[in-house]
């Protein structure tokens, strides 16, 4: 890169100095990263969160190896069986194995929660970087659009979009992404706006390095900490939102097993009173998973925020 730098010697010298400074900063930041990791792992709650998260995630992924039952296979001669050696968590109103449904349902629920949070994060970061770096009319327009999205209470916006797009798995993902990108975008934008005034960025500009490269390679990594925290917290929020929507009957179509759809059976007062195995375990699994994600998010926040001690 430095071959393309301006020719005059004194300037080149200064530029080299800046690059060295930059490298040092880079090396420093990677050390900070390691320190964050250590700090993260020394936080007992965060570690517990990671373990809980992995257990639930892996059992969902490897569901076929753990339960022999098909989560969709009905058995009309074995309705509402209480837990037994055969069916660990009993069967539901059509004789499907509840444990299998929780495991397989986890795949979809986690996919919705994590997938839409990550996608919203990527979208928010991409738009945030570009618009904050470019400024001008693009930034102004995107900022106004994000204001529109943020002005809605989330559940109102989600319900509105559900009624417009209709109920399906993909639509729910899109809706969560649509409602989730704006906060990430604003966070990244604010961060980039302050970073772009930093000296090292101005130095890179002086080298003639293209805007996207500066934005993504040099500014973005410094803005990622809060974004990661926000993504974990959004994951928790989206999983809860999926459960709530499914409870209202406005989430993923009812025939697809998701945690929320399994819990939907608790709408029936009788199931609520008499067949605890249908709603209680899945409710606890949702709570445990969200708790794990919250612990992780908290740990990440503490470890990525240098001003916070302990």
């Amino acid at each position: 890169m430095n071959q393309h730098a301006p020719v005059r010697k004194s300037r080149l010298d200064r530029s080299f100095d800046r690059i060295r400074a930059l490298e040092e900063a880079g090396a420093l930041s990677s050390r900070v990263h390691n320190r964050s990791l250590r700090k993260f792992l020394s936080n007992p709650l965060a570690s517990a969160g990671v373990i809980m998260f992995l257990i639930i995630l892996l059992t969902a992924i490897f569901a076929p190896l753990i339960v022999p039952y098909d989560p969709l296979k009905i058995d009309l001669r074995a309705l509402l069986q209480p837990p037994s050696a055969e069916h660990w968590l009993g069967t539901d109103k059509v004789g499907r194995d509840v444990f299998a449904r929780i495991l397989y349902g986890g795949r979809i629920s986690i996919f919705i929660g994590l997938g839409s949070a990550v996608a919203a994060g990527v979208l928010g970061v991409a738009i945030g970087c570009i618009s904050a770096y470019k400024r001008g009319w693009l930034d102004a327009v995107v900022l106004r659009v994000s204001e529109v999205f943020i002005a809605f209470p989330q559940i109102i916006l989600v319900l509105l979009l559900v009624s417009i797009l209709g109920q399906s798995l993909i639509n729910l993902l899109l809706i969560f992404i649509a409602t989730g990108w704006a906060p990430m975008y604003r966070m990244v934008r604010a961060r980039v706006l302050s970073l772009r005034e930093e000296e090292y960025v101005q130095a890179l500009e002086a080298f003639g390095i293209s805007t996207p490269v500066i934005a993504y390679k040099h500014i973005l990594p410094n803005a990622l900490g809060p974004v990661t925290v926000q993504i974990t917290l959004s994951t928790a929020a989206f999983i809860l939102a999926e459960a709530g929507l499914s409870f209202l009957g406005l989430g993923v179509p009812l025939q697809i097993p998701t945690w929320g759809n399994i819990l939907n059976a608790a709408n029936d007062m009788r199931i609520l009173e008499q067949n605890w195995w249908i709603w209680l375990p899945v409710g606890l699994v949702i709570s445990a998973f969200v708790l794990a994600v919250n612990f992780i998010g908290d740990g990440l926040r503490d470890s990525s925020d240098p001003t916070q001690q302990g």
Partner: protein, 536 residues
Amino acid sequence: MHKLTTYALSAALMLGTTPVWAQVANPLSDARVRQAIAYAIDMDTIAETLFRGLDIPADSMIPNGEWKVDGLNQYTYDPDKARALLDEAGWVPGSTIDMVYYYGDQDTVDFMTAIQAYLADVGIDMTMRKLEGDVTGELNVPPSEDFQTSGVTWDMAYGARAALALQEYFNVYSSDQTAYTPPTPEREDLIARINGSADPEVLKQAFYDFEEYENEMLSDIPLYYRQLQVYQSDRLDRHGADLGNENFIYDNNLINWTVEPNEDGEEVMYIGGAPEQFFEHRWLNPGGLTSQMLFDRLLTANGSLVTNGVQQAESYTLSEDGKSITFVLKEGLTWHDGEPFTVEDVVWSIETALKTPTMNSVFVSTFNAIEGADAYLNGDAEHVSGIVVDGRSLTLNLIRVDANVLTTFSQFPVMPKHLMADVNPLEFQQHPFWQNPIGTGPFRIEEIQMNDFTRFVPFEDYHGGTAKIDEVVAWPGGESDESIARNAAAGLLDFGSTRTLSNVEALREMDHITLTPVDINYTRSFRVNAFPFKPE
């Protein structure tokens, strides 16, 4: 998407060509495929397990009883026969059927899941989706004019028909109404027969023939009859009144009911069916206890909805040929606001009803049979010439026999002209009257808290005597609402009916509640798209 298809189709038709590119051959047009589906489903087991024994497997759209012919094929579960029939019809194993449904509850999804498993077993792949948005519209798209291509895009639709009159089950197949089965000359003839007589014996034979015809054709694959479960708390004493079809209006001795008095010595009865935003108008769906409390009818019917007496009318006479009916109204009847109830109200109601689109189809067919109804609707006449008024008597002259004319007048409530004269029939439900309706019935509205409760008290000037109960409190929520089980458990529900499995199961376990099943005209079926082609 659906709009696009319609545009594409109409564009193609305008060019005068057959729109071959927009349609596909429909294997369900072969009756053997429809029969195979009927054989492939073990409805007996589903009724016993999934539906907790509350439903009766159906062999026809027509309910069991004297109107049902003996010896219909029951299509008892026989997967081998189903496979053989499919084979014979050239079914390609693994081909897909697109099933739609419109109920949003878990029971429906469970049932659909079971059906999917049964069909997969005989080599039919079934996809399912819930209709959203314009449900009635999507179920009833008219076919192409040559009856070769259906307008509906689905293959099968799970749904129900709730009928006031048995004719309603089969009239939907007529060439001017059909949406899913191509008309045949035999069936057009049968439809004419079930509508063409007032003689029960003639009608009965026509229905028998129709049932046998449909038993082979399976335009609808009948699934099950769902009974209405009437619940009653032990606080309530109905003093020997019959239980009947609670979905409609029948003579239930309401004014003599009593409940155990509360600590203040007041007899307060709790029911459901209060409004959430507005009172439902009663020309589409006339039934329900609140409807009966507010509005009297000209005639009364028994629990099976057979006309058995008079209410607002003092007497009625049906002419020998069935083409003229005369009512003489009781004297001195008043609305709840004290205004007199007159023949003018009846005439106004019938004429307005003719122009109201959201009407019960039985009422529609009666009123359309009145002489001069056409001219009135076209705007050629200011009034319907077949309605003749003479003092307190009112005569309707019909241009054809209407088998259900008496049923109509035991269900159709007359509305107060003095309060509704300015109504736009197209926006009948939107009239402010439905915020606080007034009738001539045994109870009047005392207090409305929309979405919380409505209080009714006896109408002191009621012609049949003042009702004995001091007050009726109605909670919001229809017969499928889960609040039924909750309110009943809390002792805040004394009478009503429901068809929802979860409610029935919960009520069944309550010691203070008695549940009684009542046969109603309510058949769940698969409507099968049997046109030779369907739009892509």
